[in-house]
């Protein structure tokens, strides 16, 4: 084995990943807060009002990053589910199941903020058009994955079954993304493009991109937190988990550390 595969194996081992995740997590949350505050300042204070939508457009700074995260989260979950099903890597199973609640949260935010934006701009809270319906299907897929995962007793079997459902549902991801091009819809098309010029002014673009970075970091923060707990669960009987459980025993409910040290 070369160094890269060796490193990969080590990273994939639950105790190592548990430790690295514990170190990364506060950085994810901290940087998410910093970029989030900067992005919100740019979006709510610095950016000018839209010439058509006035100040209502400012919902974009949370709606669009959340929508991106809903899709990214699903992609991340499905990719990990694929690895878990093909190579039976325990860490991938846990990562896939850890990303479902985070992705579902962002999809829920997208739907609610979209509704709150639609009411003043379109005159309706909801319409059954392609973009909105496929986004709702995305939320239901997330909820289906979470529900199936919790319906099966054995953690690893549950992760594989739910991972399979996640893989089947991946067909919905391009439908959500391209729905505004494929069908006539009330929803506007994309204004930010990875390739080619974006049709949005820089003063509105940079807060949007900062918010996108912040939501990505927040997503990984909560995914790492859930992954740590998930790893403790699947490796429940292992030595490394036992050590962590016993060390945690020295917490508030256990005898004080000073009492122990002189025993």
């Amino acid at each position: 084995m070369n160094i890269l595969t060796l490193w990969f194996h080590k990273l994939g081992s639950p105790p190592t990943f548990y430790r690295i995740a514990g170190w990364l997590m506060p950085w994810c949350y901290g940087l998410a807060l910093v970029t989030g505050v900067a992005g919100l300042y740019g979006g709510l204070v610095q950016a000018p009002a839209d010439y058509q939508q006035g100040d209502a457009y400012r919902i974009i700074f949370i709606h669009v990053p959340s929508a991106w995260m809903g899709l990214f989260g699903y992609f991340f979950m499905a990719a990990n589910a694929f690895v878990a099903l093909v190579w039976r890597i325990k860490l991938s199973e846990v990562l896939a199941m850890a990303s479902a609640p985070a992705g579902a949260s962002f999809t829920f935010i997208t739907l609610v903020t979209g509704s709150l934006w639609g009411k003043p701009m379109w005159g309706t809270w909801w319409t059954w058009d392609a973009r909105l319906t496929s986004e709702l299907v995305l939320l239901f897929l997330y909820l289906g994955v979470i529900g199936l995962y919790h319906a099966i007793e054995d953690r690893r079997q549950a992760a594989r079954a739910a991972g399979f459902l996640a893989l089947v549902g991946v067909v919905n991801v391009p439908i959500v993304h391209f729905s505004v091009n494929w069908w006539n819809t009330l929803h506007q098309g994309s204004t930010v493009r990875l390739f080619g010029p974006s049709s949005i002014v820089p003063s509105m673009l940079w807060p949007l991109l900062l918010m996108a970075i912040a939501t990505h970091l927040w997503f990984f923060g909560t995914v790492l937190a859930r992954t740590r707990t998930g790893l403790l669960e699947v490796d429940g009987g292992k030595d490394w988990v036992r050590r962590i459980v016993l060390a945690d025993d020295a917490g508030p409910s256990a005898p004080a550390a000073s009492e122990r040290s002189h025993v």
Partner: protein, 58 residues
């Protein structure tokens, strides 16, 4: 300041959206903490049941 809060008459929609965003994400970050405590206490219970308490040994 009141101009800022009014958001050109769309205050309810804009601030409502931001409230949903922050509340849902806060729950999303706090839920794993509660789950971690639950899993740890469950594992501790299983561990203590399996073997005698070390403190009972003189």
């Amino acid at each position: 300041m009141s101009d800022f809060l009014a958001m050109g008459g769309y205050g309810g929609y804009v601030w409502g959206s931001y409230a949903v965003f922050f509340i849902v994400l806060a729950i999303d970050a706090l839920a794993p903490r509660a789950q971690r405590r639950r899993v740890l206490s469950e594992l501790r219970g299983r561990l203590l049941r399996r073997r005698p308490r070390p403190t009972q040994v003189p």
